[in-house]
Structure formats: structure tokens, C-alpha cells
């Protein structure tokens, strides 16, 4: 942890930044053992912006969003969420590594949907959605229930409220997972290869829900995805990650159709063939 302590001047600098940025990665690196997965990522995300992260496996795209969700700690650098430093906090005028309390304060605006759904198997669909609003956000039970039902209806599962996750198809599970995250009313939603674990015929229903959410517009979304057509369709910006650095970024059409980055071309070629 000690290597990620930064000077105070630097941090104040970041606090006074442009209000138009909701998430900011500043020179983030991440190593697992001897392997450096991310080699200095600088990335700003605007409120309501939809960002698609693409790249070969092992390029570190999942690690980027996992660090934002506090599931992985950066080796060095800072992440600023809505003006607050995520992994560091102030203590007696010094910046020190964040404790659990600080992490909870900052990550409250972030939601995540996982590749393998990670629904709670011992709870019904409804309970999966209600639990966090009640226990984490201290919402009263009736209103949490009402909002959860509404959200589950929105993802097309209004008739499955009392089912258990094991009784659902993969596509349905993933829609529950999205409803569960949305009930928390995050400002930023992270999608970690949410269609990768699904049978091909179930991918469509999940993408449809994401598209609906994206259209509503007010949330920032970061999607790690292999669905290029989908990225082209809903993303405002596409980022191509290669070897732990951002190798190309721009609008979907710039990146997916008009880039002359050789590695990117190779990567896309594999997907189109």
C-alpha cells in the first residue's frame, strides 16, 4: 500500500478539477506479482457517458473496472470519483490508503454487473434486489420492495419474483443482476463482459436491456465487451486497450471503422471473420 501514497498538492490539484468529469484515472498502474497488467492509464469519464472498453484478453480491461469497483487495488496512481479520491483518504493532513469506511463512502455511486452474474443463490429474485437497498441504503422495506418489483418488471422478469436464481436461464439471471445493480441508483454502471458466459441465443435479450438503460441516459456506463456491433451502436466512445496501455480511443466509428492502428486491425479482424 505504501507505494501508492501520493503528495497532498497533487491531490488538491485533482479536487478542483473540471466538474464535467465523474471518474478520472490518473496514471494508474497495476501489477499482479511480477506481471504489470496496466502500465499507466489516464482516462476521464463524463457523467452519462457510455464508454466501451475493448481489447484482447489479458489486456487489462476488466482490471480497469474492477479497480473502480474496489475489487482490485491499484499498484500506483489515483482514481477520482465525483471529486473524491477513491483509494486514498486524508488523515491529519496526509493522504493515506483508504480504509473500508472510506471505500464504502466513495463507491456508493458505482454499480457493477458481472460476467458470471454472481446472484445470491439463497435468495429469491426479489430478495436479491431488495437486500442491498434495505441494509446498505437503509431504505424502508416497503419502498425497497416496490422499487425492486418495478425494476424487475422493467427487465421483463415481473413474473419471476419468487423464483430462485437456479430456476432461471443465463439470460434471465443476467437481467436480474442488472436490476439488482440498478435498484441502488448508481451514477456509474460497470459491465464486465456480461454476455460472455451466455449461450449465443440468450445474448440478445441482455443487450436489449442494456440498450434500454443506455437510452435513459443519466448514468455513466463503462462496458467491457466483445460485442463490437453493440459497442458501435450504444457507446459514445470506444477505447482499445493493448498491453496495458490505451492504444486507441475515439468515437465508435473512428476506432472501429477508420483507425489504422495495426494491432487494432488484427484484433478486429479476428472478430469479423
Amino acid at each position: 500500500m505504501s507505494e501508492s501514497v501520493v503528495t497532498k498538492e497533487h491531490s488538491q490539484d485533482t479536487q478542483t478539477e473540471n466538474k464535467d468529469v465523474i471518474v478520472s484515472y490518473k496514471n494508474i498502474t497495476k501489477s499482479f506479482g511480477d506481471v504489470e497488467v496496466l502500465k499507466g492509464i489516464n482516462l476521464d469519464i463524463k457523467p452519462a457517458e457510455k464508454v466501451a472498453l475493448i481489447g484482447p484478453s489479458g489486456s487489462g480491461k476488466t482490471t480497469i473496472i474492477r479497480m473502480l469497483m474496489t475489487l482490485e487495488q491499484p499498484t500506483s496512481g489515483e482514481i477520482i470519483v465525483d471529486g473524491k479520491n477513491l483509494w486514498h483518504m486524508e488523515k491529519n493532513g496526509d493522504l493515506v490508503p483508504a480504509n473500508e469506511k472510506h471505500l464504502r463512502e466513495v463507491r456508493g455511486d458505482i454499480g457493477m454487473v458481472f460476467q458470471h452474474f454472481n446472484l445470491f443463490p439463497h435468495m429469491t429474485i426479489l430478495e436479491n434486489c431488495m437486500t442491498a437497498p434495505i441494509h446498505v441504503q437503509k431504505e424502508d422495506k416497503a419502498s425497497a420492495k416496490e422499487r425492486s418489483i418495478e425494476m424487475l418488471k422493467k427487465v421483463g422478469l415481473g413474473d419471476k419474483l419468487d423464483n430462485y436464481p437456479s430456476q432461471l436461464s443465463g439470460g434471465q439471471k443476467q437481467r436480474v443482476a442488472m436490476a439488482r445493480a440498478l435498484v441502488m441508483r448508481p451514477k456509474i454502471m460497470l459491465f464486465d463482459e456480461v454476455t460472455s458466459a451466455l449461450d449465443p441465443e440468450l445474448v440478445g435479450e441482455v443487450l436489449e436491456v442494456i440498450r434500454d438503460i443506455a437510452k435513459e441516459g443519466e448514468m455513466a456506463m463503462v462496458l467491457v465487451t466483445h460485442e463490437m456491433e453493440f459497442a458501435l451502436d450504444i457507446a459514445d466512445r470506444v477505447i482499445f486497450l493493448d498491453n496495458g496501455v490505451i492504444a486507441e480511443e475515439g468515437t465508435p466509428s473512428e476506432v472501429l471503422e477508420h483507425s489504422d492502428n495495426e494491432r487494432l486491425q488484427q484484433f478486429l479482424h479476428r472478430f469479423r471473420s
Partner: protein, 209 residues
Amino acid sequence: MRGIEITITVLILSAIFGYLFAFIAGLCRLSTNPILRGFTSFYVEIFRGTSLIVQLFWLYYAIPMLFGIDLGSNLLAGVLAISLNYGAYMSEIVRGSILAVSKGQSEAATALNMSRFQRMRLVIFPQAVRMMLPEFGNYLIQMLKATSLVSLIGMHDILYHGNILRSSDLSAAPTVYLLILVFYFIMALPLIFLTRKGEAISKKGVASQ
């Protein structure tokens, strides 16, 4: 047959304390505090590494001598020996079950901004307990069998009364011991069915790797 109430009392008390020790030790072994972890590992290895009957005799005969204190009664020594012994074994089940809940569950709970305590209480623990059920049932039967040892430290359980009967009429021995075996089996039956129920419950509702 007399002495059944003693057998059942010892079983119930041993089970309560056994599960209690199992949870305490199992959670301590998962703690990040090395002293706590070391201490509980020591306890678990000592009690798993030696025989229950040796532990029982040690608690009953040796402890009072070592510290000059009397454990007060053979009930206390018996219950303590059985529950410490099986608590040590079952703590491994507690630890293993908690570790077996997939990492994704804890990550999903983090993504919903749950605190460490909430993650444990709402997500990990309910799933881990389901996994523990069949083994806990098995150990309950083991504890029932173990209660027969308390007759060796002078408690008046079924076996003790059986031994008395036998010594007053040697030819009655086959009937007496067969009856005792049947009594134990009748007591074990509900536990056997409970264990099977536990197996059925644990098969659903758990996300393990």
C-alpha cells in the same frame, strides 16, 4: 432402562458447545490476526491429533492436578472433552465451507456496497451454513456415540447402568448390551434422518466454485 436422561443431557450440551467452539474457532482461523489464527490452529491440531478418550481422562484426572482446581463435576469434564474435540473437527468444516463460497459472491456484495460485516452476514454465512449442514449432522451422530465414554469417568449414563446390571448377573450380559445398542440406534435414527434432510437442503441454494 435408566440413565438415558444423562446420555441425552450430555449429548445436547456437547452439541451446543461443540457447534459454538466450531464457529468461534472456524472464524478465528479465517481472521487476519496472526496471533488469533496461531492460537486457534494450536487448539484445533491438539484436539484433532489426540484421542477423545485421552482428552477426557486428561481433563478429568490431570487438569485438577495440574492447576489444583477441580472442574467441579464429571458432567463438566465430559461435556468439555466432547465439545472441544468435535468443535475442533467441525471448525474445519466451518472454515472450509466459508472458503468454498465463491469469490464472486463476496465481489457482488462489495459491488452493492455492503460492509465487511454485511457481506458475511447476508451473503457468505447463509450459504456456508447450508454447506455445513450434512457434516454437522454426521458429527451429531458421532457425538451421540461419544457420550458413551462418560460412563468411564463415573457418570451414570445408560452404559453405566448396563455395566452395573451385567456385574450383578453375568448371564444377562447379551440382553443388556444388545438393548443398549438398540437404545443408541433409536436415538440415532432421528439424527440420521436429520442428516439426510440436511444433505437435501445443502444441495440447493449454494454458489460454490
